[in-house]
Each structure stands twice: as structure tokens, then as C-alpha cells.
């Protein structure tokens, strides 16, 4: 059959159904899922604020009617999105990227490691795991935020997920209310139960670098580790040339990479 191509650079207009504050600089937006497609955990969309621009965003949760995204305000596009309200229109295209090969992890123990705004892709994985809980072994989630007020998805992390998996939280800088662990996320690694797990890491590049280093010290093989990477993206579909890491384009060959495949890339873990 001949494949019919459409102009993939044209977004669909979708409505913002609901907005909630997560942290002082992070909001969750629930959008109409007008294509009804259910993306794979770890995939992303290109979202437009018309007149300002377009940027990539992971989805945290999805069903036939809604897509949930969570955005940290860091620049022009994200800033403009924060100005919008419920019922306003944004542009959306996708889902793009490979996502996590979650079916391949069936029967395995899993450790999810997240830092800061790296949590939405892990939420999409958690959504899958909660729907298929008995297909997986022991599951842990280690999440680190800058301070207690920077923790994204508090309800999920503190209430919902601990019911089905082991959740461990840490903050770099505690406040009066914080009774939990203090330190960067790698200081939680001594609490990893199974070193034979699959490790899924999403967060700032520096956090991923030290996570990989610490895991390798503990004897974890490179092929047990998956990273979701971030590079500047302008098309999301492998044609604008912006997001490359060596021979790979993060938008189409990633954003998820098994670590051993990219371990020698010069620009990995920059900064």
C-alpha cells in the first residue's frame, strides 16, 4: 500500500482543558487528545504557542481524551505557555521519538531514576507499570528535587505510587517541613534493592552522568541502563539537524538510548 504523507510540520490546534500548579515554576496542563492516539511511554510532542514558537515536551499521562504534560518555565516558549489559561488554544504535533522499549522489560526488576523536571517521562512509564503491575518484578523510583517545594507530582510520589512500588525521595536543600533524605539523587543508590534491574534515568545531563558512574561502580552493566536525552529540537522528526548526538538524532533515534550504544559519544554528558 502506498503511504500517504501529510505535512508533518503542521500542528493540530488543541484546547487546554485544565491547568494546575506543581511548583513555583512548573505547571501541569491537560490538553485535548484530538488524535485519540495513545503515545508510548517516553515519547514526546512538539507544542506551539502561536506567535512565540514551538518546543518539545514529554507527556506524563495519556488517554483517548486527554494528554497530560508538565512544563517548567525556562524561556520564551515555556514562558508564553504559562501566560495561557484554560480553554486557550495551543498547537500540537506528535507523538515523536522512540520511547522506552517497555515491553522488553517484562519480567524484570526496574529502577526509575529522576531529577527535577525529568519526571514526566517516568510518570508515563509508571502509568504503564501500574496497568501491568504483575508483569514486572521489584520496581523502585528514586527521585531528587532541588528543595521540597520543587517536587513535581507530589500526590503521585507521596500517595499513589508508594502503594505499588518502592518510592524514595531526596532533596538537595531541605526546609523546616522536610523529614526525608537530603542529598543529590545518587546518595539514594545504596538503597537500590536489585542491581540486576533495568535502570531508566531522566534528568539533567550532569545528574545522568553521576548516576551512570555510580551504577557502574556498583557493577551495573552499561546495557542495563537507559537514558532519555535532551537536545535542542526544531522539527522533532529528524530533518532540521539540530538535535544530533554524533550520528544519532535525539528526536528520531531517541530520546531514549540504551547507554552502551551512546557511551562513547563525545557530546554526551557535556557541561
Amino acid at each position: 500500500m502506498m503511504q500517504v504523507y501529510t505535512n508533518e510540520m503542521l500542528p493540530k490546534t488543541v484546547r487546554i482543558l485544565k491547568i494546575c500548579d506543581e511548583t513555583p515554576d512548573t505547571k501541569t496542563f491537560i490538553l485535548e487528545n484530538i488524535t485519540k492516539r495513545i503515545p508510548k511511554p517516553g515519547q514526546f510532542y512538539m507544542i506551539s504557542v502561536f506567535g512565540v514558537g514551538e518546543f518539545p515536551v514529554s507527556f506524563g499521562s495519556a488517554n483517548e481524551n486527554n494528554l497530560l504534560i508538565t512544563v517548567k518555565k525556562v524561556g520564551q516558549g515555556t514562558g508564553a505557555l504559562f501566560e495561557l489559561g484554560e480553554n486557550d488554544i495551543v498547537g500540537l504535533r506528535g507523538p515523536y521519538g522512540n520511547g522506552f522499549p517497555i515491553e522488553e522489560f517484562t519480567g524484570k526488576n526496574i529502577v526509575l531514576i529522576g531529577g527535577g523536571i525529568g519526571i514526566p517521562p517516568l510518570r508515563s512509564v509508571m502509568e504503564y507499570i501500574s496497568q501491568h503491575r504483575n508483569e514486572f518484578g521489584y520496581v523502585q523510583l528514586l527521585y531528587g528535587a532541588r528543595s521540597p517545594k520543587d517536587i513535581v507530582y507530589k500526590d503521585k510520589l507521596l500517595k499513589d505510587w508508594p502503594k505499588i512500588i518502592d518510592v524514595k525521595l531526596t532533596v538537595d536543600v531541605p526546609d523546616e517541613t522536610w523529614k526525608g533524605h537530603v542529598g543529590v539523587v545518587t546518595t539514594l543508590f545504596d538503597q537500590i534493592k536489585n542491581l540486576d534491574s533495568i535502570f531508566l534515568i531522566v534528568g539533567p545531563e550532569i545528574m545522568m552522568r553521576y548516576s551512570v558512574l555510580e551504577l557502574k561502580k556498583r557493577g551495573v552493566k552499561e546495557s542495563q541502563i537507559y537514558l532519555s536525552l535532551e537536545r535542542k529540537m526544531k522539527c522533532g522528526i529528524g530533518i532540521c539537524g539540530h538535535c544530533n548526538l554524533g550520528r544519532f538524532y535525539v528526536c528520531k533515534d531517541g530520546p531514549v538510548f540504551r547507554y552502551d550504544i551512546i557511551a562513547n559519544e563525545r557530546e554526551l554528558f557535556y557541561g
Binding site: M9, T13, I239
Partner: protein
């Protein structure tokens, strides 16, 4: 099957007039009043020159700047304007570039529809070079003559052009006559002259010889002024930026050529940048051309056109880089 004709040089302008009168839009190398040769729309056949242009035809199928869509009153309106046209007087290094753009923009999971429209509406009349140009090194790659991918290919044989025809679309009996064995031989000789005149570079296995950790990158990085001329003039560079502009009550989403030598090319929000200095940006440019594309597609992302050499204001020369990593001096 390819057929071979010839056309007298005397008749070339009349033939162009004929095509213009038929209603074709024709783009080709045109001599401006200041004496530069620019690939642009041919309004008057007298302006056409059989010379390699400064810019080449890439912008006809992949404009420097184009509207992807307009957004007005909540609606997205796709920008679709296009025309059937002839690219008359292209060079092999340019059309070989199109073939490479096709691989990236049309053969992946998603197609660049805007490029495809313009590309598939462009009839190619290529002029194979019979003289080495000043900075070109096409014989390191595909050479000066196309094997396919054209409607007609002209080869200078003195008073006439030999004309190879992949199809009969533009063949008009009035202008074209049969070519003899001798004409064909003459064309071959003229093409071979280019091979004799040009230095062939030690390109083999360059992807295995080139190194990140080498003083050359800092050395070249000290000179580069991030003008982007190397990318903008290259027939194989395809990277583009996407941004919005507001004009009145309309929003335009634009795409525009980008350059990996610019600081902002890879910069993320918060001024995070995997490529902080000129050296790392030059590594990106040369590795894309000589390593990454080779690994992904099996050939180097360069047709030896020499434009980046000609246009770099600080004389950064891809030939030097190739020779250097093959054991030469800088």
C-alpha cells in the same frame, strides 16, 4: 533508455526563448550587472551564462526562508504555492547535493513535504563541467558528470553541446540533432580533462582517521568568525531553524536555513550548550560531513563543489582538513 543529441551553441538562447515562451519558469546562472554569477530566475535568455553560480540552485527547492503555515483566527493555513519549473544550467556538484538532500528530507519516516513539492516540480537541465573550477574537488567524489537524476545533461564539445536525454520532455527537433560517435568521444575526453586538472584528495577511510583530540580544531576555531557562509553556500547542508513572527493579526511560522557554526544552533534554554566553543562547532561541521553522514548513509555529505572554501572569509578549507588527517601538514 538514455538518448544522445547535440545542440549548436548558436541556438542555445533561442532554445531558452522557446522554453520561456512555452510558459516554463526557468532558473539558472545569470550574470548580474556587477559581473557576479547568481543562480536565479531567468527573465531574459541573454542573461544566461554557462558558468557555475556563486549560490547554486539549492534555494529554489529549499528556500533560505519560507512560510510553513499562517495562523489566523484559530486556523492553520498551509502555505502551498509552487510552480513547475526548469533548473537550466545546474552543475553536477549541485544536483548531487539534491540527491543527498532527498535521502535526508524524503526517505526517512517523515517527509519534508514542502521540499518534496518543489523538488518534484523541478526539471533538471544539468551542464557537466569540462573545466576544473578554482576550488572544486568533485573528482574526489562523484566527478563532474551526472549518471542520472536529470532530464537533459549538456556537455561542452566546442561549437556544440552534446546533450544526454533521460527523457524527451524538453527535446525539440528544431534545436536538437543527432550526435555522432565522434561527438560522444569528444565529450568523454572533455570530462576526463577535469579528472586530469583536479587534485584528488585522500578521502578513503577519512572517517576512521579523523580525530576529536587534535590541535587542529582549536587552531581553526581561533579563526572562525561564525559567519555561517560555509553552511549557507553548501549544496548538501540542510539544517534549518523554525520560528514565529506576528504580522498584523496573522502569525507566520517560518523556517530558515541555520548554521552549525552559530553559537545558538545547539543552545538550550538557560544557556546550556553542548557546543560551547568554535572548536566543538567545527568538529560538528566536519564530522557531520565526513563521519556521521557516512555512517548513516554510506557516503560523505560533500560533493566537492568548493563553495565553502571560496566563501570562508578566514580560509578554512575542507581540503586541508581531509589532507591533514590523512597524514599531511596543515
Amino acid at each position: 533508455m538514455m538518448k544522445v543529441y547535440k545542440i549548436s551553441k548558436d541556438k542555445l538562447k533561442a532554445y531558452l526563448s522557446y522554453l520561456l515562451n512555452k510558459g516554463y519558469s526557468i532558473y539558472g546562472p545569470v550574470k548580474t550587472t556587477s559581473g557576479d554569477v547568481i543562480f536565479s530566475k531567468i527573465e531574459d535568455p541573454e542573461h544566461f551564462v554557462d558558468e557555475k553560480s556563486t549560490n547554486g540552485p539549492k534555494s529554489v527547492v529549499f528556500p533560505e526562508r519560507e512560510i510553513i503555515f499562517r495562523y489566523r483566527e484559530g486556523k492553520i493555513i498551509e502555505e502551498k504555492s509552487d510552480e513547475r519549473r526548469i533548473l537550466f544550467g545546474t552543475r553536477t556538484c549541485e544536483i548531487e547535493g539534491f540527491r543527498m538532500l532527498d535521502d535526508v528530507l524524503l526517505k526517512g519516516k517523515y517527509k519534508d513535504i514542502s521540499y518534496e513539492r518543489k523538488r518534484s516540480n523541478s526539471i533538471i537541465v544539468n551542464f557537466a563541467c569540462t573545466k576544473a573550477c578554482k576550488y572544486g574537488f568533485c573528482t574526489t567524489f562523484q566527478g563532474p558528470k551526472l549518471k542520472n537524476g536529470f532530464s537533459l545533461q549538456f556537455i561542452d564539445i566546442g561549437d556544440d553541446y552534446l546533450v544526454e536525454a533521460m527523457n524527451e520532455e524538453l527535446i525539440v527537433p528544431e534545436y536538437f540533432t543527432e550526435a555522432s560517435e565522434e561527438d560522444i568521444k569528444k565529450a568523454e575526453e572533455n570530462i576526463n580533462n577535469v579528472y586530469k586538472e583536479m587534485e584528488q584528495l585522500p578521502i578513503k577511510d577519512i572517517e576512521k582517521k579523523i580525530k576529536f583530540n587534535d590541535e587542529i580544531w582549536n587552531k581553526l576555531g581561533n579563526y572562525c568568525i561564525n559567519c555561517g557562509a560555509c553552511n549557507y553556500s553548501c549544496p548538501t547542508c540542510f539544517c534549518f531553524d523554525v520560528y514565529d513572527v506576528k504580522i498584523g493579526n496573522e502569525i507566520l511560522r517560518i523556517r530558515e536555513w541555520d548554521s552549525c557554526l552559530l553559537e545558538g544552533f545547539s543552545r538550550l534554554a538557560g544557556f546550556n550548550n553542548p557546543r560551547k566553543d568554535n572548536a566543538s562547532r567545527l568538529i560538528q561541521r566536519f564530522y557531520h560531513k565526513l563521519v556521521y553522514h557516512k555512517l548513516n548513509y554510506g557516503y560523505y555529505l560533500c560533493t566537492g563543489c568548493g563553495r565553502c572554501i571560496e566563501q570562508c572569509p578566514v580560509n578554512i578549507d575542507i581540503r586541508d582538513v581531509i589532507k591533514y588527517f590523512s597524514g599531511g601538514e596543515l
